[in-house]
Subunit: 230 residues, 2 copies
Amino acid sequence: MMRGIPEGAVHGGLAAQAALVFERERKERGTRPERVGKNRLGAEPRAAMALKSHSEAERRRRERINAHLSTLRSLIPGTCKMDKAALLTEVIGRIKELRTSTTEISQGVNVPADADEVKVEVNGHGGGPFSLRASICCADRPDLLADLRQTLLSLPLRTVKAEISTVGGRVKNEVVLTCDGCEDDSECSVFTNNVHQALKSVLERAAAPPEFPGKRRRISSPFHAMSSSP
Amino acid sequence: MMRGIPEGAVHGGLAAQAALVFERERKERGTRPERVGKNRLGAEPRAAMALKSHSEAERRRRERINAHLSTLRSLIPGTCKMDKAALLTEVIGRIKELRTSTTEISQGVNVPADADEVKVEVNGHGGGPFSLRASICCADRPDLLADLRQTLLSLPLRTVKAEISTVGGRVKNEVVLTCDGCEDDSECSVFTNNVHQALKSVLERAAAPPEFPGKRRRISSPFHAMSSSP
DNA sequence: AGGCACACGTGAAGC
DNA sequence: TGCTTCACGTGTGCC
């Protein structure tokens, strides 16, 4: 493993010394390698300096990379004493994991665009009761939640999970619906269409009574949608 | 940069050859380095084989690490032609970014534990109006949202964002509050305490009228909390 | 020409 | 002991 500053600076330097000594001995025995006239004057110290700066630069490069690897070790728990390769494997796993989880979460959580929209997609399909993930995004209004509730209750589906996020007068409602007594998965497509149509109707009812069609209504507080007494 | 398979396989081998030739020349001139009796018999080919397998193993190690780096390059867009160090810098940035976004999203989204709890933390503190992120987690009840709404409206804070997630009769309400006309950041601590106390009172009012103290009330639908007409 | 980045082989430690 | 991992210096190609 060799932690800290090893005296390994000797060995590589040892190979270098070996090569240099070899060069010197060849010269001493008169065995010029090739292109004698190329080295005009003072070529030896210049080459030595270049070699030294080269090794120092390479050293700095290694330190940079290792510092980054150390940062990665500190970032991912449980990799303190791991191999470089194992660390990178873990890093790759983390990137993939976080990427998928982030996208699959944020696509359902973040407040959507300014345009009204209705999304319905099959959540789990194979094996057991399937579930639908439906979301509707529109401008906030006091009776939206009640309308949405009544609409969903009219469907033969059970609301497993509901999530509401609102910001700036826009609201996104996302629900997860499941069918308790479903024996055939082939029905899920018709359920998907039904849910989509139902939410579309909510959207149309939302667009129906706009006092000022061109302007968006001003919402004083996100709790507009929560008010239990109109 | 040197992409692909360089013929650099020669040079390192060249240095090795130089060292080996040097070794051989020393032996030919009878200049034993040290410890002559140590090499008993057949030590030369054995050492050569060990050295060869060693270099091959090191080569495989490098290939493994580089393969992982290549995978990371494919994982993060825009790093195809980057340095190793720059690539790792980008990887670190990605990990941090994804980690924070995932945690800050999931900690507000996921359904909390079974225990009731109130959390209040300062969101943005330095520069401009600060904001508080407050959340309350408890069992669902019809008047919870109305209570929460009235409680928050009684505070001199504005509700910027509200998010509700409920599952299995448990509900988590998370709100982001800000103070519009705050000139001093030192007040945020008292606001934090006020919000915490207010939410605690909501929690206590929730625990007050339990028909069956030991058992949790059964909730038929998450839209219980949304019902606009009691 | 000089700096930079890379792959290579090798000595030293840890199991 | 052998196998693995690491840091090092070096050769080499590309700006």
